[in-house]
Symmetry: C2
Subunit: 349 residues, 2 copies
């Protein structure tokens, strides 16, 4: 099974950063890839034409479908929530400033689970409505976190990486490479900066507009972004509640996303350690025997890859078994390999 | 590269449920597996000796290390939090019943971000303390969710599957197989049942002990488990607060875990659809060319597996490149395959 017909790799001229490759060791073609399911083409370059920023529709049209869906669901939720709470506004007691504004504010405070308690439902209908909206709100926030927020942070991240490399003459493939390698690190960076900005803006606003002391303003910010919401300090002016609608949504999502990224960062670090360990582990004769899927006594490159991927925990035996079944059903001439002959036989049958 | 030395698969006698295997198509050895990193041996059978349930230490000793760590961190957090809030108890205002009890209660209400507001800090020190404990509490809850709660649910799940199969004579490998296949489905089931129990217990308790109407009790339960915590209804009696300490921790974690599992279930369903699509897609000549890692003109079983795994998005080109590099450095005789000769050369060098 020695690779007798050694060709020069077709795609080797593509730049590969930080990778010292001995040209002698280039028997295996590298950059052939199956369509990577997690990469959406068109996302990388869609920030370059700034003219279109003038047209709101075209921005919305350019957004990722799942992000558009998140915005749609969020709008529907807020519209229905506000309408419902507006109709029962007389069954909600507490500090009020304006009918519609209070309804949106109450809806946001409920869906984010901040729940200050400065406005509380005091009828059976209002209580059941609030209970319903907090559950659906939680589900929606979860969806926003997993799709919308991640998408936004990734866009910022790509801009950041582009900005960092604006002096170097690098192509899109380098940026993509850098992006893929340090993805989680940059994400953590972007979200941390956003979080600090959101905290500072909130504290300054509460101090200036709601006339809180700096400590109280900061305490109210902490109480809000964590969704703790004791409610002793909250937004009680008209301007404050308008600000709160946008700021509470942004800040609570930011902090949740921050925790998600930190967890992702830790997972990735552990995963990298495992990969390192797997790579540094010496192959033994037992490993050779185990990795030899087709029983020809030697381990080919792909067999080695499958064996090590299993060891890293990236794939499991189930995945491999399923694909081996599929492979055998495709292998019409039972040669143990797929060739154009098998494909021709498959089509004729 | 045809598999000329066809051996009878060594491990084929292991039961494989729901898998109609044509014995003719058994050239490839199946159940050879690299040590699966995500499976911890010893977890499956550690519920069988009931005598040890009498000894608390031995239970703790039998628990998974990461679960033990979670319990340890939780205890430390609650101990420090209670001590701190006990020292500043005069700077916390609201309905009080007992010094230590109120401190633990305030600590739990804060760390879970329920934040009723029935007790609120009213000094700079107490406010900053609360802000600190809510952030660290959130991080801790995240850790509990990712390690502790998942571990507990998995244990219940294994018991459930065992109970379901108590009549059939099945071996541990069948249970493991069933467990691996329907993992997320059973997890969702276990957590839903737990959640319903927690909600009913909470509602009954609030109605009986805190003398709330059924609607108010249910409303308070919803307000608590979602961590909304408006605070108009909360635990104000001594018995209520003792109950609250345990119930709030359990119920908020339950609901969060429920949302996590639903998300996991959705992800898995989408993943399965993708796998189905990848399997049903016809191989073309272009695919053959792309999958052929070692350029020998045909696609071996392992090459097919790697190609399809990439298509499914389970692995990416980075992983494969890294492993191909490693493979080439191990392939001392540059034959394109690893054999015992390569291993011997590696040891002598």
């Amino acid at each position: 099974m020695a690779a007798s017909n050694i060709k020069q790799p077709l795609l080797d001229q593509l730049p590969l950063n930080n990778r010292n490759v001995d040209p002698r060791r280039r028997r295996i073609r590298r950059l052939k890839s199956a369509p990577a399911a997690e990469l959406f083409p068109g996302e990388i370059d869609d920030t370059k034409d700034d003219q279109s920023l003038l047209h709101y529709e075209s921005i919305l049209a350019k957004l990722h479908p799942s992000f558009r869906r998140v915005i749609l669901y969020l709008s529907i939720y807020l519209a229905i929530g506000t309408t419902c709470f507006y109709f029962v506004r007389n069954q909600i007691q507490g500090k009020k400033v304006n009918g519609v504004l209070d309804s949106v504010y109450f809806c946001v405070v409920t869906m984010t689970t901040v729940g200050y308690g400065d406005l509380v439902p005091n009828s059976v209908t209002a209580k059941l409505l609030a209970s319903f909206f907090v559950f659906s709100g939680m589900a929606l926030v979860g969806m926003v976190l997993s799709r919308g927020a991640d998408y936004l942070v990734e866009k910022q991240e790509r801009l950041l990486i582009k900005a960092l490399h604006i002096r170097d003459k690098v192509g899109p493939s380098d940026i993509l490479e850098e992006f893929e390698t340090n993805k989680v690190r940059y994400k953590c960076f972007v979200i941390t900066v956003t979080l600090v900005v959101v905290i500072v803006v909130g504290t300054v606003f509460l101090a200036k507009v709601e006339k809180l002391s700096t400590i109280d303003a900061f305490y109210c910010v902490c109480s809000t972004i964590t969704t703790l919401g004791y409610g002793d300090k909250s937004f009680s002016t008209k301007a404050g509640r308008i600000f709160a609608i946008f700021w509470i949504l942004t800040s609570t999502l930011c902090l949740a996303q921050f925790f998600l990224y930190v967890a992702e960062f830790n997972t990735e670090r552990r995963q990298k350690e495992l990969v390192k360990w797997v790579l540094s582990r010496r192959m033994t004769n037992v490993d050779l025997e185990e990795a030899d899927l087709d029983n020809d006594g030697v381990v080919g490159a792909a067999e080695f890859v499958v064996y090590k991927l299993k060891e890293m925990g990236k794939i499991n035996q189930e995945d491999v078994l399923l694909l081996l079944d599929e492979f055998e059903s495709l292998d019409f001439d039972q040669s143990g390999t797929l060739s154009t002959i098998d494909l021709a036989l498959a089509q004729s049958s």
